[in-house]
Structures are given as C-alpha cells and as structure tokens.
C-alpha cells in the first residue's frame, strides 16, 4: 500500500519542488522581492547560470564534497571496524556514545573548532604546510572546508558502517585466515568487499551532506570557496532574487540526482559484470 506515503510525501516534497520550479521560471527585476508574478514565464534565470563562470562553482562543490566524503570513509571504516571487532565492551560503549554525542554538537562549534585548531594561528597550523599549502592562501581555505566537512560527516559514516560490519559474520574472516589468507588480504577481500553496499550507502549519505552544505564553506571558506548552496543562499536571503535562487536549486538537484543514478548504474553494472 503506497498511497498513505504518497499522500504525505506529495505536499511535503513534490509541492514545494513544483513551487520552486515555477518560481525559477518567473522574471526577476532588480530591487524587487521575489519574482514578478505578472510577467511571462522565462528561462532567463537558467540562461544566467549557464555562463561558464558558474560551471566552476558546480565543479568546486562536487570536487570538494567528493574529497571530504572520501576522507570520511577512509577514516570512518577503520574506526567502525575497531569498534565492532576490537574494542572491549566499555570502550565500545564509550566510542559509540561519543560518536552519537558529537552529532548533537552544533555544526558551527565544530567548524570553528577546526578553524581555530588548523587555521593560520592555530596550534596545528603546520598541518597545511605538510601538504604544501600556505594556511592563509585560497588553497588553505579549501583545506579548512574539507576538514570541516569531514569532521561533520565522519560520525555519520562511522555509525552507518558499525551497523554494516555488525551484520558480517566474523567467522567468515576466520575461515579465510584458517585457509591461509594473510590478514590484510582477508580484510580487503572479505571484510571490505562484503561491506561494499554499506560503504556505498554511507558514502552517498556523506556526499549528499557535503555538496548541500552551506555553513562550512560560509564560515571557513573566507569568501574564496563558495558552494552552489552559498550562491543559492545569497539569492534568496540577501538580494531577494528568488527566481535566480530557485533556478540554481533546480539545476543543482537535477545534476545531483543524475550523478547519483549514474554512479548507482555504474556500481550495479560493475558488480553484475563481476558476478558473471
């Protein structure tokens, strides 16, 4: 029975989306608040963001999001693995409680903490130099954004992967090792491979969170790193160009959904190929 869900979702999700689509087609006159209801519908708002300069903002958003969510996965998986397979019950409780607790910590606090720690005057300012980046350069600002996003998504990724790892019978790993597989091979070919659906799911969640983020680039991007969300926010909040903001939102949504299904298709076809 799908209709109860549809009755709830239609006004909550579809309704606002259609309103946004309609707003994106309204003409905008400078100085007005919102689109001109009396004007003829137009694609001018889409034409404006089709300018080559805006491609850079989309690429930056997807690239920085990918790096951040990738790092969160790389760090989150061993963390989850340690909690499920190695930690003693009290340590495990402590770590899971800590991960959940960080989710309640304000995003702003976490981002400022990162900035104060790794920023040009922070105690770990040398970290950026290790990567060959001057902390007060534009690349330094990008590094702060990556660290801020990673810090935010890491608990989400780790908690998701804890569930995944728990559902994998540890005896499969023991069986592989008893048949002579070295520990590293067991880890990568048994544990990681069996976790792939969970890794994909955690990765997609983290990636969606990163590319839709507004606060992190706003607080530590120093005005150099702007995500598409920042451009949308400026239009809706600061210049009241609702049609422009709506057009950017629809474009971002279409590209993100396209990217998601593209990736999904790629992964599925690769697995099906491997299974033949």
């Amino acid at each position: 029975m799908l209709w109860p869900a549809l009755v709830i979702m239609a006004p909550l999700l579809l309704g606002p989306l259609l309103a946004l689509l309609h707003e994106s087609l309204k003409p905008y006159v400078g100085g007005r608040i919102g689109g001109d209801d009396a004007g003829a519908l137009t694609l001018a708002n889409y034409a404006e963001i089709a300018a080559p300069e805006y491609v850079r903002y989309f690429l930056d958003t997807f690239r920085v999001g990918l790096i951040s969510s990738g790092l969160a996965l790389v760090l989150g998986f061993p963390m989850a693995h340690f909690i499920v397979r190695r930690a003693s019950p009290p340590v495990r409780r402590l770590l899971i409680g800590g991960l959940v607790g960080t989710l309640f910590l304000s995003l702003i606090v976490r981002v400022y903490a990162i900035s104060m720690t790794f920023g040009p005057l922070g105690p770990l300012s040398g970290f950026s130099r290790l990567l060959g980046i001057a902390s007060n350069s534009p690349d330094g600002a990008e590094l702060m954004v990556v660290l801020g996003l990673m810090n935010t998504t890491l608990p989400l990724v780790a908690l998701t992967l804890i569930g995944t790892l728990q559902n994998i019978n540890p005896r499969l790993e023991e069986a592989a090792m008893s048949l002579g597989a070295p520990r590293w091979k067991t880890f990568f070919l048994v544990t990681v491979m069996m976790c792939l659906p969970g890794i994909l799911s955690a990765g997609i969640t983290a990636y969606a969170f990163c590319i839709s983020n507004l606060v992190v680039p706003m607080l530590v991007g120093r005005g150099f790193i702007l995500f598409v969300s920042n451009l949308i926010y400026a239009r809706f909040s600061e210049v009241a160009n609702f049609p422009g903001g709506a057009a950017l939102s629809i474009a971002m949504m279409v590209i993100s959904v396209g990217l998601f299904y593209g990736l999904l298709h790629l992964v599925r076809s690769t697995w099906q190929e491997a299974g033949k």
């Binding site: 499920v84 007060n136 350069s137 150099f224 400026a234 909040s237 160009n241």
Partner: protein, 364 residues
C-alpha cells in the same frame, strides 16, 4: 565480537543524553506568562549585548516579554524570511538600517510610528527618520553609523595615505572586505569614488576591485559583523572596509585608525534603528522602541556600539571623537549613498562579483 541492538541503543542514548543535558540544566524551560511577547531581530556581537542590557531595564517597569533573534549575515536577509510567510510573520520589531528600511516601506510592511507612544521621537532630528509616501514617520532611528576604511595600527604602523597604496606588494593578503551585498555595495562604491566614479558609475570601482583581487591583496571576504570582528582579531589582516560597529569592536582590543578623511575618498554615513511590522502587538512594540529612544538609553546603546546617538542630548563615546565628521567636514569627507538605487542593482552586482571577482581571488 558483536554488539546487541540493546547495547548499541544504550550507548547511543548515553551520548545523546549527555549532549542534551547541558541546555536543559541551563534553564531553557521557563514558566508561561500572559504578558505580551515581542520577537525582535537584532544584529549579533555588541548589538545584542547592549540590547539585552537595555531590555532588562525595560522589563523592570514593563512586563512585555522580549525574545531575540539574530540577523543571519546582512540585515537584508530578514526580508526574504518575512516575504516567505507574509502576512503571518513571527517578527514584531526589526533593527535594520536605511537601505532595508526603504525596502520594508516600499513593501508596505511597516506600521507608522505612533508618536503618542513613541514620545522620544520628537527630539530626534527629522532628517534621520524614514518616511513613507504619505509623509508618515516609519522608523525610530537609534544610531548614526558609517562605513569606513581603516587599519590596525599595531600591524601597520603609519598606515596608508590612499587606498591606491593597497595595491602595493606589502598588502598582499592583508585586506578584509565585505561581500558586495553586505553594506549594500558600499565597498564597490568606495572603490568607484577612488577612481572618479560613484554608485551610478561603478565601472571604475569594479576595475579597482579586480586589480586588488588579481594581485592577491584580498585576504578574506566577510558576510557579517561577527565574521569581520573575528577576522580582524586574528591579526592576519591589517586593513579593512567595514561599518563603525565592526571597527569599534576591533578598537576595544587593538589600536585602530580610521581612514575617513582621505583626500581622494569618502566615508559613508547612514542611520540604524527600529521599525515595527504590521500585525504585531503595536502598543508593546512602540513602548519598547520608545524606551530605546530615551536619551539616556540612546546614549548607553551607542556608547557600546561605537555609533553616534540620534538624541541630541545624548553624549557620544569619547573614542569616536575623530570617527564622525564635524558639520563643516561633511561636504568634504562624507558621502550619502543613494540606497534606493543601490538596492535595485544588488542582484546584478552580486552576480558580477561571483562571475568576475571570486575567480580572481580564488587564484590567489
């Protein structure tokens, strides 16, 4: 090792419980009351601090409950929030400035000020008060404020003579400037004035900003007072263009000099204050605004903000002696921008900044 669902839930609940305990222990839950309630939107930093102090005094004689919300970024952002729900906005009193007053009046969202309740309006100079087409007074101006270039004297002894100097290599990465839509584009206008233009002939200003950006002189682009105050406090940036509030907060901790009397540039003056939105408990809102407009409160308010009081009998903070202009200096150094025009080009300037300036600063 495996974890039972119950153990996982217990650990998760423990973490959640610890995180949630703090705010409740702080006393967020308060008993209900039948008094009027006002939701007032104010800027952060010292604006909210002094406002809460004055509101506490107000509540000694008036039981209206005051709830505060902070502007997120520039005060123009509140317009979109109101538009989305109008006429059912939850806001009652807004603390904004001239360009935003003009927009709110144009939308017909404000209640004319009832001078029988806001009796202190009578002593505020008439030219500070924004009016609608019918000539009705629509605002309660609390401060005369401004936007100026300036620098931290401890980081840049001797400062600079002209903003043309800021193109020199020693200023690379040292400038902290507003996003163009903050301060309604006054940063661009200032750069335009430098090269012989103004708000209606801003092209020379854009060229100057492009020079600054391509040389890597811009170190940070701020979108709010708090961001600017924090940025200037780090010591990474020595020069900036911001409003008097941002400079005043910086000057409390560091030696600051304003460059508001440069021979080839100008300082910008405008008013900030309260306005009352339609549909709110008007009497309570007017009483609240009137309390802030009392000469004594007006003095306290502006002493803490680093702004000029609007009540002629209120004293000005001694720190600001050189910040504002004497009457005979106004023509030479002060500039009163056409905010109605600037509001009409903000969208275009914002898009232009995204297309032409950000790629340049991004390159460093």
């Amino acid at each position: 090792m495996s974890i039972t669902r119950r153990a996982f839930n217990r650990a998760a609940l423990a973490g959640a419980g610890l995180a949630a305990a703090g705010p409740f222990a702080g006393g967020l839950i308060r008993p209900a009351s039948a008094a009027e309630r006002l939701l007032v939107v104010q800027w952060g930093a010292q604006w909210i601090e002094v406002s809460k102090q004055i509101a506490a005094d107000f509540n000694k004689t008036n039981d209206t409950q005051i709830a505060w919300e902070l502007h997120s970024g520039g005060s123009a952002a509140v317009i979109a929030k109101i538009k989305a729900v109008w006429p059912n906005t939850q806001y009652n009193v807004l603390s904004v400035w001239d360009p935003v007053f003009r927009t709110l009046i144009k939308e017909d969202w404000l209640v004319p000020i009832d001078e029988s309740i806001v009796t202190n309006l009578a002593t505020i100079p008439d030219q500070f008060i924004q009016k609608n087409d019918k000539g009705q007074k629509m605002t309660v101006p609390l401060s005369t404020a401004g936007a100026f270039w300036g620098y931290r004297d401890d980081l840049l002894p001797g400062g600079f003579d002209s903003i043309e100097d800021l193109l020199r290599p020693e200023f690379k990465g040292k400038l902290c400037v507003p996003y163009p839509i903050n301060l309604t584009g006054l940063f661009i206008v200032s750069c335009a004035i430098q090269r012989g233009g103004d708000e209606k002939n801003a092209e020379p200003g854009w060229d100057f900003v492009k020079e600054l950006a391509s040389k890597g002189q811009i170190g940070e682009i701020c979108t709010s007072n708090s961001e600017y105050i924090n940025a200037m406090a780090t010591g990474q940036y020595s020069v900036g263009f911001w409003n008097n509030g941002g400079w005043f907060a910086t000057a409390k901790n560091f030696p600051v000099k304003l460059k508001n009397r440069m021979p080839d540039n100008k300082g910008f003056l405008y008013n900030e204050g309260f306005c009352v939105l339609k549909g709110c408990p008007e009497k309570a809102a007017f009483e609240f605004a009137n309390f802030f407009a009392e000469p004594k409160m007006n003095e306290l308010y502006n002493m803490n903000l680093g702004s000029g009081p609007t009540q002629p009998s209120a004293k000005t903070n001694p720190m600001l002696v050189d910040w504002y202009y004497k009457p005979d200096e106004l023509a030479k150094y002060a500039y009163f921008a056409d905010f109605a025009y600037l509001s009409s080009v903000m969208n275009e300037w914002n898009a232009r900044w995204e297309r032409e300036i950000v790629p340049l600063v991004r390159r460093g």
